[in-house]
Amino acid sequence: MSVSATKAPPSRGAPAKHASPGRRARYRFARWDLKYSPYLYIAPFFVLFGIFGLYPMVWTFWMSLHDWDLVGTHTFIGLENYTALLSDDYFWNAVRNTFGMFVLATVPQLALALFLANLLNRPLLRARTFFRMIIFVPNVVSVAAVAIVFGMLFQRDFGVVNWFLSLFGVDAIDWRREWWTSWTAISVMVDWRWTGYNTLILLAGMQAIPRDLYEAAAMDGASAWRQFWNVTLPMLRPTFVFVVILSTIGGLQLFVEPLIFNNGNIIGGTQREFQTVQMYMFENSIHNLSRAGYGAAVAWALFLMIVVVSVLNFVITRRSVK
């Protein structure tokens, strides 16, 4: 239904004079329909978002203002949880781990995704559909299954990775022992799962770039590399921003991989080498029942961090590609 339809006068005579009550009702309904129906159409999202998105957030905030025992009593304490958070070493440790693993996983991941997307975008590539499908498969596999399998690959005693490294004379690495070994292993898991996904989004973005731009560039004597750098990348900017923000949101919420990597231990390594913010929140709210309010404060801190980083990402990515 288009807006112009309402403005067109009724085709048969003036409605005010001859209209029967039935016609008038129908006319009123049509007007009502035009005015309010769009809201109804978009309502399901907002209703669901309200119930499952907004409401829990507000409720979590409410929890974070309390000394909240998950299966016991609650006492209002204002912002005490937040002030405690600021001087909590383990919280900042979790923040450092989360950002560290985020950078370690995301930077190579996006570079690889860009490279793969560019390959798949070549018109002369054979069996293109096959490759495009196969690259997405890791993303369909359950994350817990991925974490379990990679956890085995990265075992100290009988792991395949250590066996492979031993061929080059490298001693068995205890992957869960150091921060850098554990971060590497976890980043590999994340990248295995998400590189294909990002490749497809970037590929879709690349295909939306008009071909005549390339033709014009080629006419001006631009090499393939030059075309990629000066045509593809700038035109890909909106897609790239989208991918970066999506990776940020996902990366900062890292939970299942590091948790299962150390056999479900909520504190990560023996000295919390790979405990993420999400895990720290879980440790406080579920493992330590009486600190659920504190856990809620961690959840809100995480939310704010994601907002800040997403905005930063948006600003930086926009500039740099320009």
Binding site: Y55, V71, H287, A296
Partner: protein, 432 residues
Amino acid sequence: MSVSTRRRRYAAVALATVAALATTTACGDDNEGGGDTGAKPEKLVVDTFGEAGYEDLVKQYEQQTGIKIELRKVAQLNEFRPRVVRSLATGKGAADVIMLEEGILNEFKLNPNNWVDLAPLVGDLSKDYLSWKYELGKAPDGRLMGVPTDVGSLGICYRTDLFKAANLPTDREQVSALWPTWDKFIETGKQYKQATGKAFVDSDTMAVNAVMFQQKGADLFFDKEDKMIADTSPAVKAAWDQAIALADAGITAKITTWSPEWNAGFKQGTFAATACPSWMLGIVESNSGPENAGKWDLAAVPGGAGNWGGSWLGVPTQSKYQTEAAKLAAFLTNTAGQVAAFKKSGPLPTNLKALEDPSFISYTNKYFSDAPTGKIFGESVQAIVPTHLGPKHQAVKENAMEPALRAYETGQLDKAKAWEQFTKDAATQGAF
């Protein structure tokens, strides 16, 4: 109840979303609401962790009563606990009968209102069980939160084939004689290591647990008023030092208990011995697999009797069929039930008649080279004087003590730093 169900539900929704857990919580089929309807249920749900040995028993109960029993098993306590917590916090999805290990039972005692007082439902059973075990099942307000299932009397599981290869005796009497004390145990470990070049035990944390629980009647991380004393408790220090000595001897495989490497280690013979509370037998068996049947045996633990672990069966107040659930819990823990569970998976009876039952005493465990496990454990169980565990024992042990010891074992922290990390974390983990 201090919080209305509605508010608790809100809290749950918030939490579930925030946690962004992929796990489904949709198992509350017929458990919504709660409160005893007195009706005869079609189905009762039982939640257990580890190897409780209830598989055959519930079938038997189904035949007797016509009530269908759903047995839900979780391998590890640290996965099991969050599930119970979630169902308590949301007021939904809890099983009708829940197995409560001593660590988490103490924690749930802080809010006893979530649990049904079983005493009026099952009658006076106080004379049926080891009295200390029965008493521990009571909450501070006097209600009977759980009926006793098992205790974890200590032993040492060892591989006869690996001992033989190291020219150590293999007969269980002789092996037990090798190590009256933990120091002798370490000596034996050194001999083993010298002969084979391989690790003797899985990790230093196995010793810390065993030694802590051997401190008869002592306070561990908490005193009798449940005040945190991890940094000053002599029992904790004794266990800590013993574990450090084990690590210093270089005879541990430095494997985290319950990890996939640990599981694989049983099959691969990465270590030749480990601490075996009675409930551990079932776990050793399932980890080692049928191909290693007859290679394991059971010897006495150095340093005297002790209790590690052991559980109770409780009924949450949200169960709709509290009376029937209590009956089922009583059935699973009565004399015949405990003997059957023991034969199936090794949890050691706490029911006095079960401990005297001839079929229990004469029982030999085929998998463990026909060791007379009934006799070995049955004798030691009488000598147990339980230690005092505070409400957060499990959290302090799992997230403060063991990580610090592991960090020492793998050389990440020196002795002083490890102790510092432990006592610092104990204070946070032990807060309630």
